[in-house]
Symmetry: C2
Subunit: 214 residues, 2 copies
Amino acid sequence: MYQEPEGTKLALIKAAGELFAESGLDGPGIRTIAEKAGVNIAAINYHFGSKENLYAETFRYVISHEKDVHAVDFFKEVGEDIDPCEASALLYRYVKETFSFHFSKKQPRWFNMLVMRALQDPSPSLQSLVEEVFRPDMEAFVAFIQKANPSANTQDGYLLDFLVVGQIFFYSLCRVPILMALKKEDYDKAFIDKAADQTAKAVISVLGLPLPRE
Amino acid sequence: MYQEPEGTKLALIKAAGELFAESGLDGPGIRTIAEKAGVNIAAINYHFGSKENLYAETFRYVISHEKDVHAVDFFKEVGEDIDPCEASALLYRYVKETFSFHFSKKQPRWFNMLVMRALQDPSPSLQSLVEEVFRPDMEAFVAFIQKANPSANTQDGYLLDFLVVGQIFFYSLCRVPILMALKKEDYDKAFIDKAADQTAKAVISVLGLPLPRE
DNA sequence: GTCTATAAACCGATAGAC
DNA sequence: GTCTATCGGTTTATAGAC
């Protein structure tokens, strides 16, 4: 069971998580982290043993706290003979909820940035991240895709999953240049809704399902 | 005009480019770079003045050597009254060529990885990268989108561009976990073709154009 | 548990011999 | 143009006082 951190440990995890999400494990020095957390430098080693362990702990903290939209739960009750219109509506809701989860202000922005960044930084824990965190949802998603359109093969399912994950990855990590291109200050709700709507429609169209009515 | 580097300079640019593409400016130390290039450490400072200058030069090298598919050229001759089927076919070709350009083996893999990584690493040159390298193509793409479907607004155009760029960004930077998920060794031509096909169809469908016949 | 002081390793940059 | 040796700064980690 996950031991909920408190006090100095919690402050360090929150400060470090934010900084690691911004620029990776090698980005911030432990001085910067300690300063942001408002604790002494030596506290990192006292509480976590090393910077790398602190990184791993920020990760554990996010995994156990984020209330992600899990395909495993979302598509749990889908039967073999789902109606195309129902499948389309369900898929639409799934993509919309996944987006609004990742870009909502209900949880700190660094939660998903940390996870997305970990996907690209080669690290020893990458394999377990893929196998334990992503794999189950990917497989549930692919299974649903094949129920919604039995002529789709496994690779089609994965590619559709990548269409969604890829967009979230892009909007998470390219925030700065995207906002620069759009000449905006920040993502607003309308923009994220539009991006989610587009992604959902893309997935539904490519799969050959009818688009949900407006 | 761009002065073509030779000898030690060229060896350093190639070695550094590969390493920077892998893990950013702060990833490799100059010792690692020099070793990979097979030259002395001091050569970096002698030829480039600093590590940061070497980074900037690897960038200039890529920009001037990659034969990217530019939307500016691709959609140059499109008139106001383009036929939807023609527009669809042109868009399809554009996405396919952009993908096969970015993932072909005709140029080193680190070329596009370096550019894609630069998009997410906050750096002083990010703004000029966006404005000078990406902006012109984005605007040409958006202009085409609005010709292909006059009811699309500017934001719709940008979002469709992000659909394509986002997928390329994702497949470029998440190569390792993607291959891990797929249990593959490397991207093969068939896979990239499929991903490109899917992305092209997604863009065309979302824009409301007819899909090109198989 | 928290602090200061410092060790040990590494970094980018450079002086000076060849 | 290439090398060795080294400087000054920064990093993570830790020993020891409180």
